[in-house]
């Protein structure tokens, strides 16, 4: 399907060229490209980006065609792929993983007329715009459900890398759960990869073995959910709606919604006025959400989630005090909130998270 539209577009543009309508014809679609860190079939992070891409293509009709490159390592290879895409005439390039940051900046320097959009980074340039989503908002909501559903009082997180983006999700999940049961604790296993179903599953099984009965993951596959289904405990979907991968174990999915942003970026580019502002959106902006809550989740939990969700959508910040650190010391006083800058560089665990954060000084 994807291929046929692509070929169709090529054939159409060839036909136009032979008819002598010229390359500058207004009907020529804008070329956009997406660089993915995992396979589209991961069912999580990359899949969510690809859904966003498809939504963009659909919204813009024939005005934009897109190319994808999946499984691009976050090493020296990324720069080659991005450069190649720019050289092949793509005018919008979305690099959808943190590790592409420096490669994106390097290529952007040599292609000033191409607009680059980098997900989850912190360095920008005149033609490199950053976008990200506040996944800690749905993570907090998931925590509330976990607090209601856990019998052992032990939650688990299968985590990728100890970077601020992941640390704050672990914190938010734990904070949400502790609003229900203040004695609840969270165990974390680091798998040092974004996508490795085998490792993710092993980590999930290790957590379940330690008495964890509600899991969440900050990795890209559905393996932890499947492990939970097999072992008879609960888990969440992450990045995409993962209900189908473990319908019994699945409590809800914290999903990314990129379609709106991609559509806006493409529309702006077609209009000749590319988007340049950094976007860090959440539930309020419709960039993520908690969806597909399992019918077994009790009414009290649903109500608490709905109320909190409404608060967040109205602009209430998740990281609002009182928040205590792991050692019980007050990190954020009552009535105060962490600034975006602080949230974006957080390197400490909240009370209730067990273990030491790797690399913490």
């Amino acid at each position: 399907m994807k291929r046929s539209t692509f070929l169709g577009a090529t054939v159409a543009s060839l036909a136009l060229a032979t008819l002598g309508l010229g390359a500058a014809s207004a009907a020529e679609p804008l070329k956009a490209a997406f660089v993915y860190v995992g396979p589209v079939g991961d069912g999580g992070w990359t899949y969510a980006h690809d859904l966003g891409r498809k939504a963009m293509e659909k919204a813009l009709g024939g005005k934009v065609v897109s190319t994808i490159v999946e499984n691009v390592p976050e090493s020296g290879d990324a720069e080659r792929v991005i450069r190649d895409l720019a050289a092949k005439g793509n005018k919008l390039i979305f690099t959808t993983s943190f590790g592409y940051m420096d490669s994106t900046l390097k290529v952007a320097k040599s292609f000033p007329k191409v607009e680059f959009y980098h997900a989850t980074g912190f360095k920008s340039a005149p033609n490199v715009t950053i976008y990200n989503s506040r996944m800690y908002e749905p993570a907090y909501l998931a925590g509330i459900i976990a607090g209601h559903m856990s019998k052992s009082g032990k939650l688990g997180v299968v985590a990728s890398f100890p970077i601020p983006e992941v640390v704050r999700n672990i914190n938010a999940y734990t904070m949400g759960a502790r609003t229900v049961n203040p004695a609840i604790t969270t165990k974390v296993v680091w798998v040092s990869t974004w996508y490795d179903p085998t490792k993710e599953r092993q980590a999930a099984e290790a957590l379940i073995g330690q008495g964890v009965d509600v899991l969440i993951q900050n990795t890209d596959s559905s393996a932890p959910l499947q492990a939970a289904q097999d072992k008879g405990v609960y888990a969440f979907g992450w990045d995409s709606d993962m209900t189908a991968y473990g319908p019994k174990a699945h409590l809800a999915s914290a999903i990314e919604i990129w379609g709106g942003y991609y559509t806006k970026a493409a529309e702006a580019a077609v209009a000749g006025k590319p988007l340049k502002q950094t976007v860090w959106g959440g539930i309020k902006e419709g960039m993520n959400d908690l969806v597909s809550i399992n019918p077994i989740v009790p009414e009290a939990a649903r109500k608490q989630v709905a109320d909190k969700r409404a608060e967040i959508a109205a602009g209430k910040l998740v990281f609002t005090g009182p928040i205590k650190g792991q050692d019980g010391s007050m990190k954020v006083a009552a009535g105060k909130s962490l600034t975006d800058k602080e949230v974006d560089s957080i390197n400490w665990y909240v009370e209730g998270v067990e273990g030491q954060l790797p690399g913490q000084k």
Binding site: K2, S75, G76, V81, D84, A87, D102, G359
Partner: protein, 382 residues
């Protein structure tokens, strides 16, 4: 009933030793055409996109060389080690340590060492790779531990060392707690060929580190073919008992093999961190150390064939990317090609030691010397 049978040759065929890899490549290409057709593509068009398009621009050629260079360097080291029957599987980890040692100098002596910084990093990187390899050599030579397991396990340890450093003491304070070091300054980076006045490479990433590889190729060949030490290593590999009888020290062979392969891997590590990456970070796991094992095997441990094998592996990788971008085919095609190539190579190897003979329905004279085609096919599949 007419058929063919395999007959063992009196001595391995020299002609087939050269022809077997070529035959494997040819069969791979033919299978590739069929594969593209099955995927619903015009085979010739896809073929062009896979094998020709990546090489059609200066940038493509430079990317190929940039990718092949570390594979070649590590492959040369491994070829030397494997000739001595020392199975260093941990070149990946030795490469990490090369990168770590070079990074240590790059971020601590950026200001003070000026133009001497890069040469010092090259030496330090090689030393780092050798040091890591020497742990394996020590375990094997002193305690008879399996070098396969020790070197492989040490790769994971090396990866943890990298992680510890970039999450801890070497982290860039400006990096929002992300695991990276500062970006290296110019005096800690290999100069780009384009910057040295080679206009053909304008706008490409190819850098001077390729010279290290170009020098290493004849050196490795000379070491293997023309030095006494190289001869000792080869004897230790082919006939350990004869080597002992001749008074060649077995532990010396192990040390030499590990240090040579570790040093080469360390150099590859420097060429990466001081080349296209330009910093140390926790995502740097290119697996060149593992791919180079295939390179050395494909080259039949011949140092002059290693560069060819490295270029071929690099091309398979770039080709996979190219068909994905151009035709939106899955990138796993690269791995399918790698698998096909290895399978056909193993199959073709049979013809080095056996020859094909038409079976005569009447003659069953020497069954002990011949193998039926069915067994040969089985061997091929294995």
């Amino acid at each position: 009933m007419m058929g063919f049978e395999l007959v063992r040759r009196a001595a391995p065929s020299r002609r087939m030793q050269v022809l077997a890899p070529l035959q494997a490549v040819l069969l791979t290409l033919m299978a590739g055409l069929g594969l593209f057709a099955l995927l619903g593509q015009n085979p010739m068009h896809a073929f062009h996109e896979f094998f020709i398009a990546p090489l059609s621009t200066a940038n493509g050629v430079s990317e190929l060389l940039l990718k092949a260079s570390p594979l070649c360097l590590i492959g040369l080291g491994l070829a030397i080690a494997y000739r001595a029957n020392v199975w260093n599987i941990g070149a990946e980890g030795q490469m990490y340590m090369g990168g770590v040692f070079a990074t240590g100098l790059a971020i601590h002596f950026q200001e003070s060492w000026g133009a001497f910084l890069l040469p010092a990093m090259i030496v330090a990187g090689m030393a780092g790779g050798m040091l890591w390899a020497s742990l394996t050599a020590l375990c094997r030579a002193r305690f008879h531990a399996s070098e396969i397991l020790v070197s492989l396990m040490l790769t994971y340890v090396a990866n943890l060392v990298v992680k510890y450093l970039v999450f801890g003491p070497w982290q860039d304070p400006q990096a929002n707690n992300f695991p990276l070091t500062v970006e290296f300054q110019d005096n800690a980076l290999f100069p780009l060929l384009a910057a040295l006045g080679w206009e053909w490479f304008e706008g490409t990433r190819l850098n001077l580190s390729i010279v290290i590889t170009l020098v290493a190729i004849p050196l490795a060949w000379f070491f293997c073919q023309r030095t006494f030490a190289g001869f000792q290593l080869a004897v230790a590999g082919v006939a350990p008992a004869a080597a002992r009888y001749a008074g060649f020290s077995a532990s010396r062979a192990i040390w030499m093999a590990m240090l040579a392969s570790g040093g080469a891997a360390g150099l590859a590590g420097v060429s990466e961190v001081a080349g296209p990456i330009g910093q140390l970070n926790d995502r740097w796991t290119p697996e060149y150390g593992f791919t180079a094992i295939i390179v050395a095997t494909l080259a039949r441990l011949n140092p002059l064939a290693v560069p060819v094998a490295a270029l071929l592996m690099a091309l398979l990788y770039l080709g996979g990317e190219s068909v994905q971008i151009g035709l939106q085919l899955p990138k796993s095609i690269s791995q399918v090609f790698q698998g096909l190539l290895l399978m056909f190579l193993l199959g073709s190897e049979v013809l080095v030691r056996f020859r094909l003979r038409r079976r005569h329905p009447t003659a069953h004279a020497a069954p002990s010397a011949s193998v039926s085609v069915a067994t040969a096919a089985g061997e091929k599949a294995a």
